[in-house]
């Protein structure tokens, strides 16, 4: 079953075609890596899929809902996390969980259950009452991810979730992503760490608003005769004409 389907999805800003007729599908539980250089159109595409931006043309369904007409339902069925999206630093861990849980319409008992679950999984049982600001960055990111899937969304969008995080935490973070995907949550992720692209079931590489390559990391590496995804990415990114956004 496809949880994300896009067909000729296009977004223009005036003369500028930020996203140029992209088509792809993401299956349920898949980890889909969405790669591209700065300014390739990743963020615009992601915003359209999250229901934050109306496409200029094309078709897209996310979690079974249409991006043109059902953005409210989409928002209820997705989770979102980015490096910039942060929790409220001046609220405690518990308060953040309560707040976001409430925002997604979880009942009090559900929030309580999810809260103890998150604290267990993250191993931060004693930290429920500490302020988020006082946590190390890695923990913040892990907590932020846990909260982004607190309402058991069908899909979670991760926008460069691991920027600047140390290698150990980065790996632990990805283990959480694997777990989520095992539970059937589709993961749509952008990253600048190309070793992380290898963890994805499939990746797409955007260049100048178009998807230039799509497939499993091993397929792509074979196709472009590269050792690593980094090589694939560089080969493709160097073909970009649009140098700056």
């Amino acid at each position: 079953m496809m949880t994300i389907e896009a067909e000729n999805l296009t977004k223009r800003f005036g003369d500028f075609i930020a996203v140029d007729s992209i088509s792809f599908g993401v299956e349920r539980g898949e980890i889909f890596g969405f790669l591209g250089a700065n300014g390739a159109g990743k963020s615009t595409a992601m915003r359209m899929l999250c229901g934050l931006l109306t496409p200029t043309s094309g078709r897209a369904k996310v979690a079974g809902f249409d991006v043109y007409t059902q953005s409210e339902q989409i928002k209820r069925n997705i989770g979102y996390m980015s490096q910039k999206f942060s929790l409220y630093g001046d609220l405690t861990v518990g308060e953040n969980i309560k707040f976001w849980g409430g925002l997604y319409g979880l009942s009090y008992s559900e929030i309580r259950a999810r809260k103890s679950e998150i604290m267990d999984v993250l191993g931060m049982g004693s930290l429920e009452n500490s302020f988020v600001n006082s946590l190390p960055l890695g923990w913040k990111q892990k907590l932020s991810f846990s909260i982004s899937i607190i309402h058991n969304p069908q899909i979670v969008f991760l926008d460069e979730p691991t920027g600047g995080v140390d290698p150990l935490v980065r790996r632990k973070f990805w283990e959480m992503i694997f777990d989520a995907s095992r539970r059937g949550i589709t993961v749509f992720v952008t990253t600048h760490y190309l070793d992380e692209a290898e963890y994805c079931d499939r990746v797409s590489v955007m260049v100048d608003g178009k998807i230039r390559a799509m497939g499993s990391p091993s397929e792509l590496k074979r196709k472009f005769s590269q050792e690593k995804m980094e090589g694939v990415f560089k080969v493709l990114a160097r073909t970009a004409k649009r140098k700056s956004d």
Binding site: N38, L137, G164, V165, D166, E175, D195, K234
Partner: protein, 310 residues
């Protein structure tokens, strides 16, 4: 000629936090030799920016001593500021001025003309030229960093301090930036650069791992890799995540981490790898490749950070 352009010895720095004084740097010491690229490698919040600000004479350490080209960062800050080029971690140019206007402005306040050191910045400048009338705020991440670097180089500094120039920049632009740094070194400029990307450290002549305000290790990247205490095995198979979980569950496995499409495994004693292979064949199935592999800098960092935690 001095051997070390920067010496940092025993530097500690504390910040006032909600719960008393929070250490940002704890007894940090390292030397940066003249004419090399020195990398300060560590995650966000490790203390990289504080270290840069102290070396750039913008902050005073609570204790310890810093010299730049033999001058005290505390006493001779005016002199030091004259020959360093500094690019802070945050984009520090004027977003509401164009590329050209930013360059001209920085050239003038440094008392030079853009043309004076053209040899130095020509490579970057030619990439910026097509956008010279664009407002700096509307450049892409990579271009912004190139512009900032250009501005930091405009007065031909002897020492270049670059705080996370590649953060938020895509892999292609990142590589281009490192190529520029290599070119600077060949022109005799010493470079101190920080980055959270471990793989970039391979471009440095010397490096220091920093984590939680402490220096974990200093040396050349190769030295650091060579000093990794154990043999690393690379294990590859179809379902990497399941493989990882399986390996972690084995009592003879000391550590297992995913690296791209494979796992890096260290065993408790060298004889254990036979057991691992056997168990993999028995419980996971065929098609699992196990091979000796040289440690990467990330392996080293993970090991050092863990040792430090324990």
């Amino acid at each position: 000629m001095l051997n070390n352009i920067i010496t940092v010895s025993g530097v500690s720095k504390f910040y006032a936090g909600a719960s008393g004084r929070v250490p940002a740097l704890v007894d940090v010491s390292f030397d940066v030799p003249q004419g090399c690229i020195f990398g300060l490698i560590g995650p966000d919040g490790a203390g990289k920016t504080t270290t840069f600000r102290i070396i750039a004479t913008l902050m005073l350490p609570d204790c310890g001593e810093v010299t730049v080209s033999g001058l005290s960062a505390k006493r001779d800050y005016r002199e030091i500021r004259r020959f360093i080029g500094y690019m802070p971690g945050r984009f520090s140019l004027y977003q509401d001025l164009s590329v050209q206007e930013n360059l001209e402005f920085f050239a003038r306040i440094f008392g030079v003309k853009i043309g004076d050191n053209l040899g130095l910045i020509e490579g970057i400048y030619s990439q910026l030229e097509p956008f010279k009338n664009r407002l700096a705020g509307r450049l892409s991440g990579g271009m912004k960093q190139k512009l900032a670097l250009c501005c930091a180089l405009i007065h031909c500094p002897r020492l270049l301090l670059l705080d996370e120039p590649t953060t938020g920049v895509d892999p292609v632009s990142r590589q281009e930036l490192w190529e520029i740094l290599g070119a600077m070194r060949s022109k005799g400029i010493s470079v101190l650069v920080s980055t959270p990307y471990m793989d970039e450290a391979m471009n440095c002549d010397k490096m220091a791992f920093i984590s939680k305000g402490k220096i974990l290790k200093t040396g050349s990247p190769q030295n650091i890799i060579d000093s990794f205490p154990q043999q690393v095995y690379r294990v590859r198979g179809p379902d990497a995540f399941r493989l990882l979980k399986f390996l972690r569950g084995l009592p003879c496995v000391r550590s297992a981490y995913s690296f791209g499409d494979s796992c890096h495994v260290c065993v408790k004693s060298t004889s254990d790898i036979g057991d691992v292979k056997r168990l993999l064949a028995r419980d996971v199935g065929p098609g699992i490749k196990v091979e000796e592999f040289s440690a990467s800098l990330e392996d080293c960092f993970i090991r050092l950070a863990q040792n430090d935690d324990n």
